[in-house]
Symmetry: C2
Subunit: 222 residues, 2 copies
DNA sequence: CGCTCTAGTCTTGTATACAAGATCAGACCT
DNA sequence: AGGTCTGATCTTGTATACAAGACTAGAGCG
C-alpha cells in the first residue's frame, strides 16, 4: 500500500536531485500520470513542498522546482553549520551514557567505512553520525530543523565528499569533535563541528566556481 | 477576491494563537463551513501547515493542532536566539549604507513607541527591528528561516513583552546591539542579540513555571 | 513587417461524488 | 456485569467534474 507521505518523498527526492531544471513547470497532470494517481494527491504533495521551500507555487501559473543558486547554497551551508555547531555545543553539555554509547558505535562504523575506502557507505554513516550528535543535544526542535536542512543539502554534500581525500579528513574531524564533546568542552565542540560543515560548503563553492556552472548568481530578485 | 495564501494564513493564525486546544481534531468539514469554502482548499492549507510543523496529520484520523509544550517552546527560543545571533554577526560584517539608514530609522521608531509607553506598538516595531537586522545579514535563507520561526513564537513573545518593564529594557538592548553592529564588532553583536532573545525565552519559562500551566511536559512521545 | 487584439485551448483552482478506513453503539457471549 | 464482536455512521482520502484565469496562435491593423 502506498502511504501519502511516500508520494511527497518521491517528489522531494526528484526535486532535490535536480531532475527538474530551473524554472521548469511541474505539470500536475503529467505528474499524476507518471505516479498513477489523480491530481489531488499531487497537489497536496506540492503544497507541502512549497511550505518547505522546495517548490514555488505561482498563483494560476503552476509550480516550479526551486533550484538554489550558488549563493543561496552557501547561505544554506552557513545556517546548517551554525545549527550543527549549536547541536555540538548542547551535546557537550548534556550527553548521557546512552548518547556516549551511540556516538562511539556510529563513530566506529564510520571508521570501518573510511578504512574500507567506501565513500558511499561512509557518506551514509556520516549522516548517522551527525544525526547522533543532534540527538545528544536533547533538543527535539533543533534535531528536526537539522534533519530537514540536511535533506535539502544532501545531494551537494554527497557531491563533494567524493572529491579529493575528503573522507579521511572528515573522519579525523569527527574524532576531534567527539573528543571535545566527551570532554564537555562545549565551545570547542561547537567550533570544530561548525568548521567541519563549513568546509563542505567552501569546497562546494570551489567546485561550483571552478565549473563556472553559474552565470546568474546575482540575478536573484527580491 | 480571496487569495489561496490567505486561507492558510488565517488557519495558521488560529492555530498559533491556540484557538484549538491540544489534541483537538481539526474537522475539515467544519473548517470548510466556517470559511465558506469546500474541503479541498482546507486540506491544502492543512498540508502546508503540517509541513511547517504547526499541525500533525495522522493518516485517516484527521489533523490536530500542534501546541508546543514548555520544553519545546524553550527549544524553539534557543534556536531562534542562535539564528538571530548569527544574523547580527553577519550584519556586523556586511551592513551597507542602506542597512545603516534602515536600522537607524526603525530604531528611532522603536524609541518613539517605547517613550510613548505603548507596548503593543513597540512590539510591532520590535519585529521590524529584528527583521531589519536579518535583512542586513544579506543572507536570504537565514532571513526566511528567521521569519518563519518568529511567526511561530509571536504569541509567546507578545505575552511576555507586556510583563514588567520589559519594553524599556528591550530598547536599551537594541541600542547596544546596534552600536556593536555599526562598530563591526561581530562577536559582540552576536552575543548581545542572542542574549536579548534568550531573555525572552527565560522570562517565558518563568511565566509558565509560575503558572504551572504544564502538567505533562514529559508526556511527549517519540 | 511588426504589433495588438481576440478567440481558442490549456492549466490551475474549487466543488462534489465516491471509496475506504476509523469510530461508536448496541447486541451478544461468557 | 464486563468484554468483545459486528454493523452503522462518520471522516478522511481520492477521483472527477466544472469554473476561471493564463497562454497561444492567428487575424487584422498600423
Amino acid at each position: 500500500m502506498v502511504q501519502r507521505s511516500q508520494l511527497r518523498d518521491a517528489l522531494e527526492e526528484e526535486i532535490v536531485n535536480g531532475v527538474f531544471g530551473k524554472g521548469v513547470r511541474l505539470d500536475e497532470q503529467e505528474l499524476a500520470r507518471r505516479y498513477g494517481t489523480s491530481r489531488t494527491p499531487i497537489r497536496e504533495a506540492l503544497m507541502q513542498l512549497s511550505a518547505a521551500g522546495l517548490v514555488e507555487m505561482r498563483p494560476r501559473r503552476g509550480a516550479v522546482a526551486v533550484v538554489p543558486d550558488a549563493q543561496r547554497l552557501m547561505e544554506m551551508f552557513e545556517v546548517a553549520a551554525e545549527m550543527e555547531g549549536m547541536a555540538a555545543r548542547l551535546a557537550a553539555r548534556r550527553w548521557t551514557e546512552a548518547d556516549n554509547k551511540q556516538l562511539l558505535a556510529v563513530h566506529a562504523a564510520c571508521r570501518r567505512k573510511a578504512e574500507a575506502g567506501d565513500a558511499d557507505a561512509y557518506y551514509y554513516e556520516n549522516e548517522v553520525f551527525h544525526e547522533a550528535i543532534a540527538a545528544a543535544s536533547h533538543s527535539g526542535f533543533l534535531q528536526e530543523q537539522l534533519t530537514a536542512l540536511r535533506r535539502r543539502l544532501k545531494p551537494y554534500r554527497r557531491l563533494q565528499l567524493r572529491t579529493h581525500n575528503r573522507v579521511g579528513a572528515s573522519f579525523a574531524e569527527h574524532d576531534a569533535i567527539l573528543a571535545a564533546i566527551f570532554a564537555h568542552d562545549a565551545e570547542e565542540a561547537e567550533r570544530l563541528l561548525r568548521d567541519h560543515v563549513l568546509v563542505q560548503g567552501d569546497r562546494f563553492a570551489d567546485l561550483v566556481a571552478s565549473l563556472a556552472e553559474l552565470p546568474a548568481a546575482a540575478v536573484r530578485k527580491a
